[in-house]
Symmetry: C2
Subunit: 308 residues, 2 copies
């Protein structure tokens, strides 16, 4: 029921990395530690098991198991937006129903991403199939617009049809297109939806446009600084202080430009935790080579990217 369902967290959400074990299996204990650390260091919530979390490289059983581990360890599900999209409709149904049953704040659902192109009717049918298939009033769907990765943009007409058809089950969207005008336009034109920027570079503009915040990869390593920006905006709005902090956020985010972001952030955390195993990634990703790793870590140090 809407009245008792946890509202999705606003502000700063990290698109959490998923650490692995030596055999490339997901490392649940490391994952729980990382998620707690993010929530203790500036994150209002977490986007778990999404693109940055390498979720599409995991089986359905692995994805379920990681979410179970978080919730069993006491991480509050009301602070979690869970990636539950999949190429196959039954997989997306199963993962979305599972997250809803656990009381998670929402499911961030990328369109089915193999067959291309997809018609507007087909995209509507895919989301409707997930919502109907999950069959749970507690489900909250966040549409994931990330055409560069999924190959499937989500047109405004489909957003409007889904919101009309499914009421408050369709709760928001994340825009990772990198197109600032597109995402602020969505926040203005769909005020009933919680619109998140996919990058902390645009946190201030999306907040000013009425958006909900950001769900960002960079927050895995810069959450305290992004949180300072969000706090300043809540206190004083978009004044000089917030603008300065937004610049600092963008500067730190720039450290990740031009490198393979997931392996790079994992290497940074491996060094900070003195846990080389943290650097592991699953194919098709590969760890940074030694020279790239050294250059990246030196650049992070030079920029003052210091993990708590």
């Amino acid at each position: 029921m809407a009245a008792t369902h946890p509202t999705a967290p606003r502000g700063v959400l990290a698109a959490a990395l998923t650490p692995l074990a030596a055999d490339s299996a997901p490392a649940a204990a490391r994952f729980v530690d990382h998620c707690r650390w993010l929530l203790d260091n500036g994150c209002d919530g977490l986007g778990v098991l999404g693109t940055t979390g390498e979720a599409m490289s995991f089986s359905v059983a692995e994805r379920r198991g990681l979410l179970d581990a978080l919730v069993e360890a006491g991480v509050p599900p009301r602070r979690l937006i869970v990636g539950t999209g999949a190429a196959a409709l039954p997989d997306a149904v199963e993962l979305s129903a599972h997250a809803a049953a656990l009381g998670c704040a929402g499911c961030l659902i990328v369109p089915p991403f193999y067959l291309k192109p997809v018609s507007e009717d087909g995209l509507f049918a895919a989301y409707a199939g997930i919502i109907d298939g999950a069959g749970d009033d507690r489900l909250r769907v966040f549409l994931y617009h990330f055409p560069q990765m999924s190959g499937i943009p989500i047109p405004r007409a489909v957003i409007a049809r889904l919101a009309d058809a499914f009421g408050n089950i369709v709760a928001g969207l994340k825009d990772s297109s990198g197109d600032l005008d597109h995402m602020t336009g969505l926040a203005r034109d769909f005020p009933a939806l919680a619109v998140y920027s996919g990058t902390e570079r645009y946190l201030l503009p999306i907040l000013e446009a009425g958006g909900a915040g950001c769900i960002s990869a960079g927050a895995n390593v810069t959450a305290p600084v992004i949180a300072a920006l969000y706090g300043e905006w809540k206190r004083s709005g978009a004044g000089e202080g917030a603008r300065c902090l937004q610049q600092r956020v963008a500067q730190l985010r720039g450290v990740l430009d031009g490198v393979a972001m997931i392996p790079a952030m994992k290497a940074l955390i491996a060094r900070r935790r003195d846990d080389p195993g943290w650097a592991a990634v699953r194919p098709p990703l590969v760890p940074l080579g030694d020279a790239d790793r050294a250059a990246f870590l030196a650049g992070a140090d030079a920029a003052g990217l210091v993990l708590p």
Copy 2:
């Protein structure tokens, strides 16, 4: 062992459609019938559970179940190349091991298709992870180069590294790029690999370049004509007769241009079999609308596209 493993079929392979039941579940009995009908009407083999078979829209359990149904019904596994690619490495490992254990001629494996871009090292690691994970000498891998759909091209350097590293486990590739020079170049430069064209439009050129044949969607509805071309080429080479038949094959293939190919072919078979349920597709696909369907069927009739 190489000596006893079935060699992949050469010539005309249909990328078989997967019919559905009323509840959108895969319809195993209809699938068995369709595959038998294709093998009885000109196909030397079948590419099952690939793009045209909507396989990425099915769960791993559904994909396994459909292959089990075929083999249990007596369709010879030596005539099957099975799509076993997946976004998630463990899914691709499970599906590839399953197909190899059933004695299938090969696995057609698309690169993991969510994360982009993928480095050459990462692509090699993904295929190596599948081969090592399946751990079966009977496995035969056909690399699937289809950048428009997967978003991940397979560079020549990766083909060469995989062939060097895994010997005759890497048995061939299918090129659905639509780039004739690319596919004939691969056939010439990798003579140890069985190279298939993804379209029957290029069957004659790929055969002349030393390729193995085609694995094509269109063959679901035009296999007898493509088989006539292949038979003529085997008898008399690329003379006037073969060129005329190649033109006829291309003309029939043109009937499918500009329509959603999977729903259109399913509609054609539904009419031929007087079985409206055959037209069902799974989201994100949708059936043709009534007007599009009528226009497509009229065009097929006008072109003389007659199913056996």
